[in-house]
């Protein structure tokens, strides 16, 4: 029991801070750069990403274990995962709209934007590569997505402040955001001492 808790803690620090999904693995860069102008939209996006990635890694792990491994067709994982994820996001959207309208109000706008974000597929594949069981896959998905949320909210906070700065003309827009992300990546490198 204690071992499991310890492993989970290591997984939490490892996948949310040390090997942060955006800042050190470069997955999910598009929403990271695209939806980080304001803190509240960034938080909404982060919430939607946590929701989708957690469900997607659970479903992918179940399908991998009970269908792909069982029938010995693991080489089809890329095709199966991408289709399952794309269908799943559509399904989640319809489900939320019908049954949990409050949550849909908060996250719905962002759901179509993550349909096939590379982070979702990337995490499903990483879980398989690392031989995680179903429980650990879900935990890893959740923690990685939390890492995404931390990164995008911090970036949005910095970008809100940056509005008032005088930036050289060529660096306005994306370049300065990329430099900010680079500095954040340096800061996140510091977390590697935690493990």
């Amino acid at each position: 029991m204690l071992d499991v808790v310890k492993d989970l803690l290591i997984l939490l620090v490892g996948s949310s801070l040390v090997s942060n999904v955006v800042l050190s693995q470069f997955l999910g860069l598009c929403p990271f750069l695209g939806v980080s102008k304001k803190v509240d939209t960034a938080a909404g996006m982060g919430g939607a990403v946590i929701f989708v990635i957690t469900i997607a890694s659970a479903v992918a792990a179940v399908i991998y274990k009970f269908i792909l491994v069982r029938f010995d067709i693991t080489y089809l994982q890329t095709i199966v995962f991408i289709l399952v994820i794309a269908a799943l996001v559509q399904f989640v959207e319809m489900f939320l709209k019908k049954f949990v309208p409050a949550l849909y109000q908060a996250l719905g706008v962002y759901l179509p934007l993550i349909t096939t974000n590379c982070a979702v597929l990337g995490i499903a594949l990483t879980n398989v590569q690392k031989n995680y069981g179903i429980g650990f896959s879900i935990a890893s998905g959740l923690f990685t997505a939390v890492g995404f949320m931390i990164a995008i909210v911090i970036l949005a906070g910095i970008r809100e402040k940056m509005e008032y700065n005088d930036i050289p003309e060529s660096f306005q827009g994306m370049p300065i955001v990329l430099i900010t992300a680079g500095l954040m990546a340096i800061a996140f490198c510091g977390f590697s001492g935690l493990l």
């Binding site: 800042l23 050190s24 693995q25 470069f26 997955l27 860069l29 598009c30 929403p31 750069l33 695209g34 939806v35 304001k38 509240d40 939209t41 996006m45 080489y75 089809l76 994982q77 890329t78 095709i79 991408i82 289709l83 794309a86 559509q90 959207e93 719905g108 706008v109 962002y110 759901l111 179509p112 934007l113 993550i114 349909t115 096939t116 974000n117 590379c118 597929l121 990337g122 594949l125 990483t126 590569q129 003309e169 060529s170 660096f171 306005q172 827009g173 994306m174 370049p175 300065i176 990329l178 430099i179 992300a181 680079g182 500095l183 990546a185 340096i186 490198c189």
Partner: protein, 276 residues
Amino acid sequence: MSDTNNEARQSSMEVFFNGLVKENPTFVLALGMCPTLAVTTSAINGLGMGLTTTAVLVLSNVIISLLRHIIPNRVRIPAFIVIVASFVTMVELLLEGFIPSLYSALGIYIPLIVVNCIILGRAESFASKNPVIPSFFDGLGMGLGFTVALTAIGAVRELIGAGELFGAPVINNILAAISSIIGRSEPIEYVPVSIFVLAPGAFFVLAALTALQNRVKRKMQEKGKNVDKIQSGCSSDCTSCSDSGCAHRFVDVNGAPGSVSLAKNAADKSNGKKEE
């Protein structure tokens, strides 16, 4: 007859160079940023990733172009995804079998070619509307353009970050030659700026690149040239794209339920409300 053949050949070459130079996917269209940042730690990795993507792009463009009258419009995106994913799986297995060093270096980014903006963007905007031969050359041009860009970025990062080029210690060799010319007993050693091979370096190199591109674009605008992107899937570049990149490839763009344009409108509205 020979005239039409000539014309076809000319337009194929045009399409090819269009992808290689004029609409270079990385430098001009800013498509496919995830692999661009992640695998360009060395020139050889960039080259490998570029060629792998080129192979997938050419094959999927040809097949999608062959099937363009058969695939129903409503399910075209899932159909494209299945075709692309099949080729990615094949290429992945081939790499694992024949070039295991590259396979382990690229790792998770090989299956992630499936969600690369470039491939579905080209399928959607070119291969699904054009005959086989132009689609082939479009895939080849775009793929090689991507390869050139990745190799160049990889070379810069490897040269500054490790002092090497394709694994050869170029800078130290040059410094050794210089120190022997000026007659120093101990050769000067290059201290690598290792941050350039690490994650932050990728962001800095890309920032410098985008800034350069902004500058060129601005100069062109001052001269009154049209800098709008032509006929590419994500019509503006990914990095400045407000709807979080190329998500709209996966949903029907023309106002279908759940499409990104609707989502974007809704987001704008809700933002507007909050501001009020």
